[in-house]
Each structure stands twice: as structure tokens, then as C-alpha cells.
């Protein structure tokens, strides 16, 4: 779980082009780590890193709100 959280956080940092630490529960959007238009790129990066296909039906903002939520989603898909 911790490893996967770290991987997700690293992907977010890469997409956001930041070295700022990302808390596991903080909102990626409210804190300004990501903006709306980074979301499609984040989804693509997660699909590639975890070798999954995220279906259209799962593309809602709440799922990608925080490291914790993204990690939980990835684990459920794996």
C-alpha cells in the first residue's frame, strides 16, 4: 500500500512537474498541485505505469481527488 502510494505520488509530481511533496489525503486540485487539464495526462500516466485501462465510466473527478483515492482505485482494478 505504501509503495503504491509512493508510486502514485511520484506520477502526480511528474505530471505536475513539481518536486513538492504530495500528501496522501490532500486534494490535488484545491491545493493547486494539479489543474483540471492535467487530469487526462494523469489518467494516461497511471494507465501506463500500472498497466491498466481506466474505462470511460470511471473517469470522474472524485476518483482522482487525492493520492489515497487514486491508490484505492488502482488496487481495486489490479
Amino acid at each position: 500500500m505504501v509503495d503504491q502510494q509512493a508510486r502514485v505520488a511520484a506520477i502526480i509530481q511528474a505530471v505536475a512537474q513539481t518536486s513538492r511533496p504530495v500528501g496522501t489525503t490532500e486534494s490535488l486540485f484545491d491545493t493547486g498541485v494539479l489543474d483540471s487539464f492535467a487530469l487526462p495526462e494523469l489518467v494516461a500516466a497511471l494507465e501506463q505505469a500500472f498497466a491498466i485501462k481506466i474505462p470511460d465510466s470511471d473517469l470522474n473527478a472524485d476518483t482522482f481527488e487525492s493520492v489515497d483515492k487514486i491508490t484505492a482505485y488502482i488496487q481495486a482494478r489490479s
Binding site: F29, D35, S36, F37, L39, P40, V43, D56, S57, L59, N60, A61, F64
Partner: protein, 308 residues
């Protein structure tokens, strides 16, 4: 077989720059431009109705056409002024179309693309079908309770195109349409407002569905995305248009944009863009053009044209 015979548009005279709208919404003018590419939009006068906008665009379109008389009218809008009757019959009356059948598509954003696809199927029976998309977004985008980030995006306007069975500036080769109610609540407007948009969800959906729609259309016609001369997209947000270009690996310059002038005019935007693009560039023989739109519903679709 069908052809785009003529394209026209109309936007109201009143130009509302970000510097005027931003203080009303409590946001920064530069921020609106940064997140959307929008610098200004046009708002209709209080006494300028949706029918006025639609009729003006239709007249602009018909003035450029020598096609046979209009045999059918299709009108798309998400901002009808009453529950019923919807505006198509009034617009037909304003255009002196007599008892020409008039169909309403209560479909914002993607309505014009759906209308053109329907017209393509119907011209064999009706000869020439006039497709009009008109939106008075200023009436709904500023409703109390609408988030300022949403209110900042929209403008008023109308577009029109005449689809003919006989001749035109571009042949309609094929189209792809799709709908999915899974995210109907992500972008909605009730009878009394406010206009609600879950922008992040809509961006994720649009950024995937628009390129998929275009790729499906082009693949089955054996055309590569880079072989398309111009993409005329629903002008929702410049950042979204740029994302679609990247997803298709097509230079951004091929994606015509006028969102900086008009904002998001919902279903009218793709036809206003087509009219502007036509006046700047025009269809050239053999060139492929793609129109594509996505919006509330969710509904989305793409059309492939070839210049004549």
C-alpha cells in the same frame, strides 16, 4: 450523398471583455484567459431573442447559397426561452418558410453536429435542410448559484449551414454520433438554474471521447489524422482543443480556434467556427475537414467533409 452548400453565423454586437465580466464574478480577467483562452464574448441585448439570433445566422447562411428552397429546418439549442413550443417553428416563421417542417433538437454543445448528421440522412427526401444552432447563454450562465468559473466561459451567438442533396462547397462523407447518460449530472441546467458543470469530470470525458470519435471516423474512411487539413471543434475551451490536438498527434495550428473572441457559445460554436474558418480559408478541392463536438448528455460526434 449530401453537401454543405453554405455556412453562416451571427453574434450580437455587444462585446463583453474579461475586464468587464471578471469583477462581476469575483475572478481575475487574466485568469479567465489562462484557464480557457477566452478574452471576450458577445452578449445579446435584452430585447434580442434566441429566435432573432437564429434567424440572423440563417439569413447570413442563405444569402451565400444558390441551393434549392429549404425543405426542412433543424434547430438545436440548450437555451430555449420556454418549455414548449421549442423555437424551430418560430424561426421558420421568421424566415418566411411557410409550412416547412421544423425540428427542434434540445441539445446544447453537440446539437449542431447531430443536426448536420440528421440533415445528411434527410436531404434525399427534403432536398435542402437548413441546420441552425442558436444559444443565448448569457440568460443561463449568469443565473444565481452558477459558479463563477462556469459563468466566465459562455457567450451568445448562432450558426447555420445549409445541407443540400445536389451540390455544395464540401461533401459530407461520413459521421459518428454517440450518447452516454452515465455522466448526465456532470453538466446540467434545470428549469430555473443554476447551470451546473463538474468541469474536471467533463474535461476527462471530453479529452477521451472527442479523439476517440475522430479516430473512429477517420479509421473507417482510411484517413490519417495528419491527412486532415482542418479540425473545426466545438469551442469549449482552448486547453481542451490543445489536448485533442496532442491526443491525435496533429499540429495545433490545424485546429481552428475563435474561442478568444466568442467564448463558449454551446451548440452554435462549431458552426460559428466553421463560418469563420470558411471566410478565412475556404474549402479546397480534395481537402478533408473534420467537425467535432461534445457536450451535456453526454452527447458527442464527428463529421468528415471533403472540399469540392
Amino acid at each position: 450523398m449530401s453537401f454543405v452548400s453554405a455556412i453562416g453565423s451571427y453574434v450580437p454586437r455587444r462585446v463583453v471583455p474579461n475586464s468587464e465580466l471578471a469583477p462581476m464574478l469575483g475572478v481575475e480577467a487574466e485568469w479567465i484567459k489562462q484557464v480557457s483562452g477566452i478574452e471576450e464574448r458577445c452578449f445579446a441585448a435584452e430585447n434580442e431573442t434566441l429566435v432573432d439570433l437564429a434567424a440572423a445566422a440563417a439569413r447570413n447562411c442563405l444569402a451565400a447559397s444558390d441551393s434549392p428552397p429549404v425543405g426542412m429546418l433543424i434547430v438545436s439549442t440548450g437555451t430555449a426561452e420556454r418549455r414548449f413550443p421549442a423555437p424551430a417553428a418560430r424561426i421558420a416563421r421568421a424566415l418566411n418558410l411557410g409550412q416547412t417542417p421544423a425540428i427542434d433538437l434540445p441539445m446544447p454543445s453537440a446539437g449542431a453536429v447531430f443536426g448536420i448528421a440528421l440533415a445528411h440522412q434527410l436531404v434525399g427526401r427534403y432536398g435542402a435542410v437548413l441546420v441552425v444552432a442558436a444559444e443565448k447563454m448569457s440568460c443561463v450562465a449568469l443565473l444565481p448559484g452558477t459558479h463563477p468559473n462556469v459563468s466566465a466561459l459562455f457567450g451568445d451567438g448562432a450558426g447555420a449551414c445549409l445541407i443540400s442533396a445536389e451540390r455544395g462547397v464540401a461533401r459530407i462523407e461520413d459521421f459518428v454520433l454517440a450518447s452516454d447518460g452515465t455522466f448526465e449530472e456532470a453538466l446540467q441546467l434545470g428549469f430555473t438554474g443554476p447551470l451546473h458543470m463538474d468541469g474536471r469530470t467533463i474535461i476527462m470525458q471530453a479529452a477521451r471521447k472527442i479523439p476517440q470519435s475522430i479516430e473512429e471516423l477517420l479509421e473507417r474512411n482510411r484517413i490519417r489524422p495528419t491527412d486532415v487539413s482542418a479540425y473545426l471543434l466545438h469551442q469549449a475551451n482552448q486547453n481542451l482543443i490543445n489536448q485533442v490536438a496532442r491526443a491525435l498527434h496533429v499540429p495545433q495550428e490545424r485546429f481552428f480556434s475563435n474561442i478568444h473572441r466568442y467564448g463558449n457559445t454551446s451548440s452554435a460554436s462549431v458552426l460559428i467556427a466553421a463560418a469563420d474558418w470558411t471566410s478565412h480559408h475556404g474549402f479546397k478541392t480534395g481537402e478533408h475537414i473534420v467537425m467535432s463536438a461534445f457536450g451535456a448528455g453526454l452527447h458527442w460526434g464527428s463529421i468528415l467533409l471533403t472540399g469540392q
